[in-house]
Structures are given as structure tokens and as C-alpha cells.
């Protein structure tokens, strides 16, 4: 069943057509990778989907709903969470606090009940904490729970950002270069986590990735993008052998 669909999406900056007539569809439960050289429009595509940019043309449909003109802060409550290429964490806060912000869209406590810190509010806070502790356990973050993220190692910050997106209980998660800056061992952990996210949490994964090993290992399908246009879509093995992809990205 199709969970997410993009139809003829386009966006240009000045004279540069960053995304040109891109169409794709992602089935529920799929791990869908996007590859392509620098400047191919991968991150622009993600920014269009999470509504940081407005699309010039085309449509974005999620779970049967047109979200092309949705307000950016409402995307996550429908079920699309994301991470950023250059980590965007709340640097002065602890890991726990960062993950709890991820719960923002999953509660609607009133201003007065927060001001008075009523029992109802306390209950909601503890529920959030329980959810977040589940994610801390899944991603092995116990040791860093109360550490300020500003001082953590790069690899751990990456994992914290993944956890923060998971805390929002999305149906679709967008990972922007999850393995960049990770060493081989961390990348391997990441591969297992991505599969766990899909298998155990039932979350559909869309990721931009340069590490072809990781792409091969976890992806159901791969889309190759070049100069804002779709070169090819298919199974990882097919994409690796596609002459146009090799020419544009992988090198002969």
C-alpha cells in the first residue's frame, strides 16, 4: 500500500532548478534510499517534503492527504519526522530533554494545567518519559541520558537526533545522510537500527545516503537523483548496474 507519494514536484532557486519534475512513491513498511552526487537536489527534496520550502509545482501526498501547502509545524503530527544532514540538536540541553521535545506533537496539555503543574500534567509528563526511555533503550543511550548534547561525540549526537525523531512516533521517518561521519562499527549498528525501526516499530524509512554498503544492506528500493531529476528507481542491485547511474554518480 502506498504511504507516501510525490507527483511532478519542482522547485528552483534563482536560475537553478534544484528539483525538477520528481515523482516517486513509497510503500508502507519500505526502506527507500535516495542516492546521487552533491547538488543533486536530495536535501532540497527532503526540505520540500518537511515543508521547510514551498514547492513551485507538483504535489506531496501522505497517507491519502495532500500536504503540499500544510504549515511546516503540522507535518510531524501527521506522522513525518526527520533528521538533518548537519545535526540540528538543542545543544544546551541534555539528551533526555532533546528526546522529550520530540514528544511535543503527541500531547496537548493546556497552558493553565502546565502553569499549575496539575496531576493530569504530571501524568502526561511521566507517560512521555516512559516512551522516551523505550527509545533510549532501543538506541543504547542509557549512559548519556543526562549529558548535555553539546559535549557528546559526533556519532552519539547522530543517534540522539534519530531518537528525537522516533520520539514523535512517526509513520514515515526521513533520514538525511544518517551514516555521514560515523565509523564502520557505528555504521553497522545504524544498519541494524534502521531495520529494527522498520520491523519492530513499523515505521517506513526514507533516507539520503552516500554509503553504498549501507544502502545495499538495508534498502528495498533505491532512487538515483541527478541535477534535480530522477535517473532511475529500482532494487539496489539494479541501480548499481544501471549505466546512467554509474556514469553520473558511481563512476565507471
Amino acid at each position: 500500500m502506498t504511504l507516501f507519494e510525490v507527483r511532478n514536484l519542482g522547485r528552483s532557486f534563482g536560475g537553478i532548478q534544484a528539483v525538477r519534475d520528481v515523482s516517486l512513491s513509497v510503500a508502507e513498511g519500505e526502506i527507500f534510499s535516495i542516492i546521487g552526487p552533491n547538488g543533486a537536489g536530495k536535501t532540497t527534496l527532503f526540505n520540500l517534503v518537511s515543508r521547510l520550502y514551498d514547492a513551485d509545482s507538483g504535489q506531496i501526498v501522505f497517507a491519502g492527504r495532500d500536504i503540499t501547502r500544510l504549515a511546516p509545524h503540522r507535518v510531524v503530527e501527521l506522522g513525518i519526522a526527520r533528521t538533518f544532514q548537519n545535526i540540528e540538536l538543542f545543544e544546551n540541553s541534555s539528551v533526555l530533554h532533546n528526546l522529550l521535545v520530540g514528544r511535543h506533537c503527541r500531547a496537548s496539555t493546556g497552558f493553565l494545567s502546565e502553569l499549575l503543574f496539575t496531576q493530569a500534567n504530571r501524568r502526561v509528563e511521566i507517560e512521555h518519559r516512559e516512551k522516551v526511555e523505550g527509545i533510549i533503550e532501543l538506541l543504547d543511550l542509557q549512559a548519556h541520558r543526562n549529558a548535555p548534547v553539546g559535549g557528546l561525540a559526533y556519532g552519539i549526537r547522530k543517534v540522539v537526533e534519530l531518537g528525537r525523531a522516533l520520539a514523535a512516533e512517526p509513520r514515515l521517518i526521513l533520514l538525511d545522510e544518517p551514516s555521514s561521519g560515523l565509523n564502520a562499527e557505528e555504521t553497522e549498528d545504524l544498519a541494524f537500527w534502521i531495520q529494527d525501526i522498520r520491523d519492530d516499530l513499523g515505521i517506513t524509512v526514507m533516507m539520503i545516503e552516500h554509503d553504498m554498503g549501507l544502502v545495499n544492506m538495508v534498502s528495498n528500493r533505491v532512487l538515483a537523483l541527478d541535477r534535480g531529476q530522477v535517473l532511475a528507481v529500482g532494487k539496489p542491485a539494479e541501480i548499481m548496474e544501471n549505466p546512467r547511474v554509474i556514469n553520473a554518480y558511481l563512476g565507471g
Partner: protein, 358 residues
């Protein structure tokens, strides 16, 4: 060294994390309650002033320290509260109504400012708030029928039905009581969803938004709360000094409130109170220094502004986390003696330097 052993999530949420902390706060509360029995009227007056500054400080701290928005115009909210209180009291409103109304008037002004500056950030926001404060100051001077212009307004005593706040200790308890309420409200918000949204906007607006936080709405909310608290402080301030004129609410007052939160320590409610103590004590130190160096009192105004500016720069450079940050370091030093390393807090300092004004 203190190692907490936790058995429930509630322990991380409650106001006093462990018994030792609760004990210290109980001692502090006892000292605050006992102050009128020990101190003379002059010192009580100073302590009331600390409480008033601290209420405004909590307001400015929420905006600047937690939400990361800058304001050079908080004197306008202080003025709105002070004039609101003076005018409503003169109209015969009871204090129990006029105080909330004065706070609400300032809050409304804050909301108007927030809505009109919702697209500004950083330096541009600072300039807009500065301009706003000048406008309010000018209105107060020109609207003579309402405000008395530069002649100012007399402010009467506070009365609750039969009870009149006619002694220094009564006013002291009132101010401290309101400060405690302000602190509790702020603490409750900060340990809830709203507080997390505010710090999220401060540290990364883009990812806050991608997690469902509506930045403009929370910025408007925090400026409204901040203005309301500052307005309440302004109302108390009007009663404190009993006679208000527009030239008490100039840019120097806005800067004073900013110095308060920077010196106290951005991002900490302790900092708001420490900063308030600092702001009340500083002028006395300046007077003492002036006498010691035999500087003519004609230079007083310039001396004040100069010392505020100098201290702000020095704190920004050498202790960006303010008095509270210094206290945290000293405490950690004692806790883990002799293992303290200078580098422990290095990282946070770097972030403070580059990202605060973004």
C-alpha cells in the same frame, strides 16, 4: 560526592530533586521570613527592591535566557505596569484587581509587540524592541491628561479592604510572596511542554519547527508572559517609589534588566534572583567607589551606565553563564574535589559565544 539513586520518573519532575536541596530551600525560606525581625527598615526596603527586580528578572529570563529572544525594550513593560497601577488606583480600583489589570495591560502591549515583530530575530528584534520602548516613553511624556506628562504621577498606598500596606515589612512580604508565585509559575512552565518548546526555539528553530513547535506562537506567548511579569513588577515598583515619571523608564532601565539576566546567568531562574541582588547592590558599590576615588557626583549618571556596560562585556567574555554558572562550577569543584578540570565547562562556553544572538 552526591550520587542520586532514583526509583521513579517522578523524581526528575518534582520541584526539589532530593532531600538535601529541599532542606536548603527550607532554610532560605526561614531566613526570608525572619528578615523583618532582624533587619531595619532601610535593608528591608532594599530587599523589597530585590524582590521587585527579581519578578521582572524572571520575566526577562524566560524571554532572553530560555527562549533566546533579545529585548532592549523591557522598560516599556515596567512603565506600562507602573502607570497602569497608578492610574487604576487613582480611579479607585481595589489593589486585588488593579495589580492583575496592570500586569495584563503590560502583557497586552507585549502581545502587540510580538505580533508586529514576529518576523524579526537577533539584532533586528533588539532594534525593534528598542524603538518600541522609545515610543512608549514618548507617549508617557506627551499624553499629559492621562499620565501627567513629565510632572509624573503620585502613587498611593496599597490597601486590601481594611488592611493597608503602611509598614516596610508588610510591603516586603507582599513583594516576596509575588516573587515566589512568579518563580513557581515559571518553574512549572519550564518543566512542561511549553518550557521545552521555548528552549527548543532558542537552540534550533528549524528542528523545533520540524518537531511540531510553532515558533511564532511560542515567541508571542513568551513575550506576553515576560511583559506581564515585568508589568506586575512595574506596579510594585510604582508603589515602592511612590512617584513615577517617564524618565525612570528609559533605555538605561531596559539595559539594567538585560544586565540583570546576563550577570545572573542566562538560562537559570537562580540567575534571575542573583542578578536582582546584584542590580540592587551595584549602585551602592558604585557610590562607595565614587567616594573612595573622590569623583564628583555630577558624573553619577555616566558612571552608572559605564559600569553596567563594562560589567556586561566582562561577564560575556569571562563568565557567559553568569553568577549562577560560577556557583555551579564552585559546587562541582567542591563535590568532586580534587578531580575538577577546567575543561569541564568549556564546550558550553563555546556555544554561548557563537549562537546566542543568532
Amino acid at each position: 560526592m552526591h550520587v542520586p539513586m532514583q526509583t521513579s520518573y517522578d523524581e526528575d519532575i518534582r520541584l526539589f530533586r532530593h532531600r538535601v536541596a529541599a532542606l536548603w530551600y527550607a532554610l532560605l525560606a526561614a531566613a526570608v521570613l525572619a528578615a523583618p525581625a532582624i533587619l531595619g527598615d532601610y535593608h528591608l526596603l532594599q530587599l523589597s527592591l530585590v524582590a521587585i527586580y527579581a519578578i521582572a528578572g524572571v520575566g526577562v529570563m524566560l524571554l532572553v535566557g530560555y527562549a533566546g529572544q533579545i529585548s532592549l525594550g523591557h522598560a516599556a513593560f515596567l512603565a506600562a505596569g507602573a502607570y497602569g497601577e497608578a492610574i487604576l488606583r487613582a480611579e479607585g480600583w481595589p489593589f486585588l484587581l488593579s495589580l492583575p489589570a496592570a500586569g495584563a495591560a503590560a502583557g497586552l502591549l507585549g502581545l502587540v509587540l510580538a505580533l508586529s515583530t514576529s518576523r524579526l530575530a537577533g539584532l533586528y528584534l533588539a532594534i525593534a524592541t528598542l524603538a518600541f520602548a522609545f515610543i512608549v516613553e514618548e507617549v508617557l511624556t506627551r499624553w499629559e491628561t492621562l499620565t501627567g506628562g513629565s510632572f509624573g504621577l503620585m502613587v498611593g498606598r496599597i490597601t486590601f479592604g481594611q488592611v493597608t500596606i503602611d509598614a516596610e515589612w508588610k510591603f516586603y512580604y507582599l513583594a516576596v510572596g509575588l516573587l515566589v508565585l512568579a518563580l513557581l509559575g515559571a518553574l512549572n512552565l519550564l518543566r512542561s511542554r511549553t518550557g521545552r518548546a521555548l528552549t527548543a526555539i532558542r537552540d534550533s528553530e528549524i528542528s523545533a519547527q520540524s518537531l511540531g513547535v510553532h515558533p511564532a506562537r511560542y515567541k508571542a506567548l513568551v513575550l506576553t508572559i515576560s511583559a506581564t511579569l515585568t508589568g506586575v513588577a512595574g506596579a510594585l515598583y510604582a508603589h515602592r517609589i511612590q512617584f513615577i515619571t517617564p524618565d525612570q523608564f528609559t533605555i538605561l532601565m531596559s539595559v539594567e534588566l538585560l544586565v540583570l539576566v546576563v550577570v545572573g546567568g542566562l538560562g537559570s531562574l537562580h540567575g534571575a534572583v542573583l542578578g536582582a541582588i546584584f542590580i540592587v547592590v551595584l549602585p551602592q558599590i558604585i557610590v562607595m567607589l565614587r567616594d573612595a576615588f573622590a569623583i564628583s557626583s555630577a558624573y553619577q549618571a555616566g558612571l552608572d551606565a559605564g559600569v553596567y556596560g563594562l560589567l556586561m562585556v566582562l561577564f560575556m567574555l569571562y563568565e557567559p553563564r553568569g553568577l549562577h554558572g560560577r556557583w555551579v562550577k564552585v559546587k562541582l569543584y567542591l563535590d568532586i574535589f580534587p578531580y575538577y578540570r577546567k575543561a569541564t565547562f568549556r564546550r558550553q562556553r563555546l556555544f554561548q559565544k557563537s549562537e546566542r544572538l543568532r
